[in-house]
């Protein structure tokens, strides 16, 4: 093992960047799952019958309280053994990551719903508004205003956990560094540095934008 080399870093960059693109792709897919599934869970928690709410709550709690890495490995081996070995690591990994974070976003949405004053529901009842209309026109807009920043923060956290999928062979940045270093017996330091910097370059602006959004929402008329 030798020390840092600028040339090697330059040589590795395109490869690691390819891995970064995969990270972004995983984030996009998992993000959509986390956003929509979390919303669905939070709404069904208020509207679904008890027999459905109860198991969904159990599952979500289980997902929140077990390590992501264990879930990823378990689902990866379980699906390839018992369901369909053709499913790629990208698909399985993105789904598990998305579901894992849906268990957190659903809590943020739920808090947003519970923070809506009871008077809003009562006014809606007094006006006999149909239930779907109450959700669409009154509850969801007020809830989204309250939970958007929290959900955005979960997505940033999720983005930073994509490397977990290295464990099942998703070709994200760690896998790329590993591949290079395995062939050349060096390059870990440069590779991890590049990976770290790419993460920073992507998540910092998003974190700042989220902060701005939070402030703007707090000040707006609605």
């Amino acid at each position: 093992m030798d020390g840092w080399s600028n040339e090697r870093a330059a040589e590795m960059f395109p490869m690691v960047f390819e891995g970064f693109v995969v990270v972004l792709q995983v984030t996009a897919v998992s993000g959509v799952i986390a956003i929509l599934l979390g919303l669905l869970v939070a709404i069904s928690d208020q509207t679904a019958p008890f027999w459905l709410r109860r198991p969904v709550n159990w599952i979500m709690q289980f997902v929140r309280n077990t390590p992501l890495l264990v879930q990823v490995l378990f689902v990866w081996y379980a699906t390839s053994l018992y369901i369909n070995p053709e499913w790629t690591a990208f698909v399985v990994g993105s789904a598990v990551l998305g579901i894992h974070y849906a268990s957190y976003t659903s809590e943020s949405y739920r808090a947003g719903i519970e923070a809506i004053p009871k008077g809003q529901w009562e006014a809606a009842t007094a006006l006999s508004l149909p239930r779907h209309r109450v959700w669409l026109a009154i509850i969801l807009p007020q809830m989204l205003r309250r939970s958007t920043a929290a959900v955005a923060n979960w997505l940033i956290a999720m983005f930073k956990e994509v490397p977990t999928l290295f464990a099942i062979g998703v070709l994200e940045m760690l896998a790329m560094v590993d591949r290079y270093a395995g062939l050349n017996y060096t390059g870990y330091v440069e590779g991890y540095t590049i990976a770290g910097l790419l993460f920073l370059a992507a998540s910092y602006p998003v974190a700042v934008a989220t902060r701005r959004l939070e402030i703007r929402l707090a000040k707006s008329n609605f």
């Binding site: 004053p117 008077g119 809003q120 009562e122 006014a123 009842t125 007094a126 006006l127 006999s128 508004l129 149909p130 209309r133 026109a137 009154i138 807009p141 007020q142 205003r145 008329n221 609605f222």
Partner: protein, 270 residues
């Protein structure tokens, strides 16, 4: 069973009980209200006034009795059971579908306004017209504009509720309730959350509505001057029962019951 006739009460409480846990808030409460009547409910805090209005808005539900009707425990509106529904010649506790239909003729204005903060003023007044009553957007907007003019807020149509004073918000809430063409309007301490200088405008609007419409009104208020001007009847409550009821003139100038006398003395001393 009462059949609909013209001189029948629009609201009938027949031995209605309401419990919260172990606490019996309304005790075999009976009263009738005629169409077009304006009735003010007065009484100390905790005497059950809000509960009565909330039962009529179906935000609370009566405590069931074994044999409804025979044993009472039923609220009737416009000659039909309201807290209950007829099924196989018997009364059963009303389900959500039945309540959804029946409560359309009842409107409520809340102490805390409860406007929808995510909608502009105009849409606060059109939303239920369009989605509950299925009026066209144009019709709903025309009606909303008329009502907002009536409450003196034509220039605030495009504002969000939190850009308005409390008094203005409450006047929007009144317009929103009236837009549904209610037969019965419930007003629960609608000026209690307002700064004193904003109370007069809201009361003026309500006086105007009382004079120009025949909507039946149930009013809970501590504004005794207002109660005297707009109501035909005042009911004094204490601990879930009616202590005394009479015309406003008589009850305010010559209350018969000690509890009414004490209550009025306390309120007027404020």
């Amino acid at each position: 069973m009462p059949s609909p006739t013209s001189n029948e009460p629009i609201i009938r409480f027949d031995r209605v009980n309401k419990d919260f846990g172990d606490l019996r808030v309304l005790k075999e409460l009976c009263f009738d209200i005629d169409p077009g009547e304006r009735v003010t409910l007065i009484g100390p805090s905790g005497s059950g006034k809000t509960t009565i209005l909330r039962l009529l808005m179906t935000l609370e539900h009566v405590t069931p009795v074994k044999h409804p009707d025979e044993n009472g425990g039923v609220i009737w509106v416009e000659g039909e059971p309201y807290s209950h529904m007829k099924k196989g010649g018997k009364l059963h506790v009303a389900n959500e579908r039945y309540l959804r239909r029946r409560r359309q003729k009842v409107g409520m204005v809340f102490q805390q306004f409860n406007l929808f903060p995510n909608m502009r003023v105009l849409r606060n007044v059109t939303e239920a017209q369009v989605h509950t009553l299925r009026r066209s957007k144009d019709e709903a907007e025309a009606k909303a504009r008329d009502l907002l003019e009536l409450v003196g807020l034509s220039d605030k149509i495009d504002n969000y509720p939190n850009q308005l004073s409390g008094g203005q918000q409450q006047r929007v809430a009144i317009a929103r309730a009236l837009a549904m063409d209610p037969d019965i309007l419930l007003l629960d301490e609608v000026t209690s959350a307002l700064d004193p200088e904003l109370v007069a405008d809201v009361l003026a609007v309500l006086r105007d509505i009382a004079e120009t419409t025949s909507i039946t009104m149930l009013i809970v208020t501590h504004e005794m001057g207002f109660a005297r001007d707009v109501s035909n009847r005042v009911m004094m409550f204490d601990q879930g029962v009616i202590v005394e009821e009479d015309t406003p003139d008589r009850i305010f100038s010559d209350p018969q019951e000690v509890r009414t006398q004490d209550f009025l003395r306390a309120v007027l001393a404020e």
